[in-house]
Symmetry: C2
Subunit: 194 residues, 2 copies
DNA sequence: TAATATACGGACCGGTGGTCCGAATTGCCA
DNA sequence: TGGCAATTCGGACCACCGGTCCGTATATTA
């Protein structure tokens, strides 16, 4: 680890950043994240094949590192949206921010979501999002339902769904999402009958 | 094609069925559909490597054929549920049937959903489901919203989500789903204010 | 039974994510 | 400044994947 012994070697951090940058560039340029291979990334970074693996463990690690880097602005935005008043506003702000983030980083998020087995959920980011959203939903629903509903809301902004809707204007998707949030956070008609 | 010239050779259909059966067996036994390869399937069917490809085109074709075979019962069930009264009942019946189907065929559906680029939506089955569900939702929402809401409802029963929820009892997932359907089909509070 | 269309098997291909190790580079200390 | 140990580099290498190809075996037809 970084804690023990010597300092981290300069070339190591330089290369790690080069790899990160190359991966970002290639993914942004690609239509299908599937045709950005590790070799491509290493080559584009001007680095040997082993280097990305040493720096990030495996493909998923690299993608996650990239997502984390890009997600800082998003995290700020999410924290800001927290100041809104009601649960509907807060949840809408959150999901809308996530939606815009995924639109802005489509290849990356697409890659991250189909990678490996059950990967979208192993991600620590997903855990945070879900916990946060579940709290909001729990203001209106029973805890068990809130948990599932939060998953469902996040599923409604999955990258491949967005992609599939991609030919129609994003406006419409955002409207639909807003409608969904409104409806879910209006409460359960079975609990609060008219 | 089957239409022209001679009859279809007997060994061809025998092999195709053997491949289908072997694939079904291996997938059901597997934890991760990713570790059932085409070679494995061919070997388990006692058949050469090329045969599965000749019979089904490619991996996705094989999986789809398998899903179609297994889905006959489901289709009947869906048609039956259609006789229910209100939109909530019909949508609940439909999504619950889909959920149970995916629980009963987890590896298969898991494989089918991660396969290839944007695959869950290119599937013709998905199209049918979505069209049907959108019709029901449209009884309560504006058409544009109905389209998206139908996608969102289907996203709430995606295999990997179910898988991720898999350690908790399916009861709870089904309850959550029922709650979601109820809430979505209760109508938009913005359109029909209290 | 001969002829012909068809399917069979498995060697083969390009490409993938990931590993490994001798060689080169770096940071530390004298 | 020079030497030494630790660390990283590069890219050959590996197992395996989905998919193709074609000489050979087999089913069908006449």
């Amino acid at each position: 680890m970084t804690a023990a012994g010597r300092k981290e070697r300069a070339d190591a951090v330089r290369n790690r950043e080069a790899v990160l940058a190359a991966a970002a560039r290639l993914l942004d340029a690609a239509d299908d994240p599937g045709d950005v291979s590790m070799n491509d990334i290493a080559a584009a970074a001007g680095v040997g094949k082993g280097t990305p693996f040493r720096g990030f463990g495996d493909r998923i690690g690299l993608l996650q590192a990239l997502a984390e880097q890009r997600g800082e602005r998003l995290r700020a935005e999410l924290a800001a949206g927290e100041s809104s008043s009601g649960p509907v506003e807060r949840a809408t702000a959150m999901l809308d921010a996530i939606l815009r983030f995924k639109l802005a980083n489509r290849s990356l998020m697409l890659a991250l979501e189909n990678a490996g087995s059950g990967s979208p959920y192993r991600n620590s980011t997903y855990g945070r999002w879900h916990r946060h959203l579940a709290e909001i939903v729990a203001e209106v629903h029973r805890p068990d339902d809130a948990d599932y509903l939060a998953h469902a809301l996040l599923a409604a902004v999955r990258s491949d769904l967005i992609e599939h809707l991609g030919d129609q204007p994003p406006e419409r998707t955002r409207d639909g999402l807003a409608c969904l949030v409104r409806v879910v956070l209006a409460g359960d008609p079975a609990d609060r009958p008219r």
